[in-house]
Amino acid sequence: MMKTIGILKESNGVSVVTLTPFNVEKLKELCTVMVETEAGHQAGFSDEAYAMAGATIISDREQLVNDADILLTHSATVDLSGNKKRKVVIGSHNILDDYSRILSFQDPLVDLYSLTLLPRTTKAQSMDVLSSMAAMSGYQAVLYGLNKLGTIAPMMSSAGGTLQPAKVLVLGAGVAGLQAIATAKRLGAIVHAFDVRKQTKSEVESLGASFIEIVGAKEDEASGGYAIEQDEDFTTKVQESIATFSKEANLIITTARIPGKPAPKLITKKMVDDMQLGSVIVDLAADTGGNCAYTENQKEHQLENVLIIGNSSVFNTVATSTSILLGNNYFTFVKYLMSKNQMETPDEILDGTRITANGKVVNERVIAEINTY
């Protein structure tokens, strides 16, 4: 019998969707696809589009949850109390930072997978939702930030005088940071960037931005491409170096994070107070505490001089593009899962992302994380 895939509508201001009609079209030969009413609407995909692609539109969420063998929900919590069927739930939950997210899925009939824990190998990249979200966030952070800015990005010589280019500072040059750099450069801004990982220097420079070099950072080969926490001395040094740039910056985009740890504080209150009137900070690390001392998650607040936007999910405002990427990620993962389901051999990708099996936490990283508390 064909498996049933259920696509849930997200909640809590999340406007992306886990599979797009294009993905559904390709899946329909392998399984039955059910889509909750209006699941894709905010991402620019109408129910008709899903229906055309071969999905069934279901308005009763409970029924959908119950009937599905594979349930896809990006980050919504699901009421599984009435569940009577063995199933796999796939999503992208910030579990290392917020363990409580597991709880609602702890049902003996449920296996929970979270793509946020995907190993960062070249092979897994096509399922890497973090990269997709980060890329979109990086782009949109610039657009959003510039929109809030009173000045324009490029230099402009005109009869009314010469407008100087905006200065943009990007902290953390991972996926999001690089995308932010590229976007700001495209618009003609002067971009400076900093990251603790040395290799990012060439990456930053390949995009035409200047890299702020600060020696003495610790790196760990074993962290799988991620940065690790730095000691206090170094952090102070970083803050001092960055202060000279933040004072001049019109827009700061911060993206620095360390998995499972609070985001490093790179911008102190003093540094913010010294900034120019009208400048803007977009803090993409807000959900793990933010890189700026003033950041509050999911809030925009206007200080005297500076507008601080704490938002780790700006990608929600480019929901269509993000959903196309995420849809492909989930699609690839689902196909991978289905192809491997039979055999019980160890698999880096599945083992890495499986949080609970039959309701029990089995993920090594999660267990390690829990134990440290």
Binding site: T121, T122, K123, Q125, S126, S131, S132, A135, G138, V175, L178, Q179, A182, K185, R186, S202, E203, E205, S206, L207, G208, L325
Partner: protein, 445 residues
């Protein structure tokens, strides 16, 4: 008649020079080649004329034989040259060069044999050098021919010492010949000179790195020129001297030009394999890397219809996007299609390559994604991989144990020819070896 012949020879000399000049500029090259043919015909005809005039009796039989041979040789030369694919042209050149060497060697043998009785030292010296250089060029060119085609697998240890050794012995034998050895010893001595020359060519050519083959051919071509010139002195043929000198001069300069284009020096080529890959290759466990040269790539580019560039992170680092744009423009003028195939994870961020290509002003219509790109690659004549590594790593397809197994890649191997442009053989982001570099149709620049 002699005057006519001499004027013919003068004309032939100028045809050669002007023809070569024209060969050097793209739009006149074809006419230049025709002029060269004319020069060759003139030279032969005039020589026959002059020779006939100096003989008491016109040697009709000899002329007949010559003409017959020339006609047959021409036909066969044509056959051979049309039997190979266009991409094999450099191989062919080296093959033909070998033939020229052999011809000189044979003619030298006859000369030595004839002169044996006369015992003119100068002539003997010239002719034995002719024999040595001729056969040495022959075997050397043949090895180059094999190497270029990737068919030469033999590994001779101590090539270089053997080269020197055979050279030394050959010199000794030539010395022997000069001292008027016994008539009965003459033939064996001659034969051993021939054998040693052949061996010398083999050792010499083997000692030179695969990537430097075009330089080797050019050097050998210079040798042929030189021996033609000295043979000309022996035969008292102005045109042979001139053409020989001329070929030598062009050969020498072309050799240096090529060295420059390949960022190496003649010394390095001949004496030590100081080439980038040679050192790195072994330490990184690669074997059978074919190196190429910008000369060759440029030639290849012109002989293609559809070209693909696969950009990677290295392109971004080297900021080579504008150069790609210029290449695009140039190829467009020559009506060659150039497309860019962007692998989803090329570079270090999503859309990295898009940003670069947009900056360089590449139209969206010239950018293909992985799927269309892989389709297009089937028709592509040449694929340039610029600073990409992991995204073209075939172990993702055929090595189950590879950490990137299962990742879709740009299937560059589908193209008739692949040239990988990067600084060394070092690995990409994923830190693994790339068997693509070892493939038959892949060259490294």
């Amino acid at each position: 008649m002699i005057l006519g012949g001499n004027i013919g020879i003068l004309a032939a000399a100028f045809s050669f020079i002007v023809g070569m000049m024209m060969l050097g500029s793209p739009d006149k090259a074809a006419r230049g080649n025709r002029l060269l043919v004319l020069g060759m015909i003139l030279a032969l005809a005039s020589t026959i004329l002059v020779q006939s005039a100096t003989h008491v009796e016109v040697p009709w039989l000899g002329i007949g034989v010559i003409l017959a041979i020339v006609v047959i040789g021409t036909v066969i030369g044509r056959q051979v040259s049309y039997k190979f694919e266009l991409t094999k042209m450099p191989e062919l050149v080296s093959l033909f060069n070998g033939f020229g060497g052999a011809a000189a060697g044979l003619i030298g043998i006859v000369g030595l044999y004839t002169e044996e009785s006369s015992g003119d030292m100068m002539s003997t010296l010239i002719l034995s050098i002719s024999v040595f250089l001729g056969f040495m060029t022959f075997s050397g060119s043949y090895i180059a021919f094999l190497k270029l085609g990737g068919k030469y697998k033999m590994r001779i240890p101590n090539n270089r010492s053997l080269t020197v050794f055979t050279l030394a012995i050959s010199m000794l034998i030539i010395g022997l010949l000069l001292t008027h050895i016994d008539a009965e010893l003459f033939i064996p001595t001659l034969l051993s000179l021939v054998v040693l020359s052949l061996l010398n060519g083999v050792f010499f050519a083997s000692s030179i790195g695969g990537g430097d083959m075009p330089i080797l051919i050019s050097v050998l071509n210079g040798f042929t020129g030189a021996l033609t010139a000295i043979a000309g002195v022996y035969f008292g043929s102005t045109i042979m001297i001139l053409a020989g000198v001329f070929v030598t001069a062009t050969g020498v300069i072309l050799t240096f030009q090529m060295c420059k284009a390949m960022n190496t020096t003649l010394q390095k080529v001949l004496v030590g394999s100081t080439h980038f890959f040679a050192g790195g290759a072994e330490s990184q466990g690669y074997e059978e890397i074919k190196e190429t040269t910008s000369t060759k790539v440029a030639t290849d580019l012109v002989l293609t219809k559809k070209v693909v560039i696969v950009p990677g992170f290295g392109l971004a680092v080297a900021k080579a996007q504008k150069a790609c744009r210029e290449l695009k423009n140039k190829l467009k003028q020559a009506d060659i299609e150039l497309k860019f195939v962007i692998h989803p994870v090329a570079g270090r961020m999503p859309g990295h390559m898009n940003v670069l290509l947009a900056e360089a002003g590449i139209e969206y219509s010239d950018i293909l994604d992985l799927e269309n790109g892989n389709e297009y690659l089937e028709e592509a004549d040449l694929c340039l991989v610029i600073g990409a590594n992991d995204v073209v790593n075939i172990s993702a397809e055929n090595d189950e144990s590879s950490t990137i197994h299962g990742m879709p890649i740009v299937q560059t191997y589908k193209a008739k020819k692949v040239v990988v442009i990067k600084r060394s053989l070092s690995a990409g982001y994923a830190g693994i070896k790339n068997p693509l570099f070892e493939m038959e149709n892949t060259d490294l620049l």
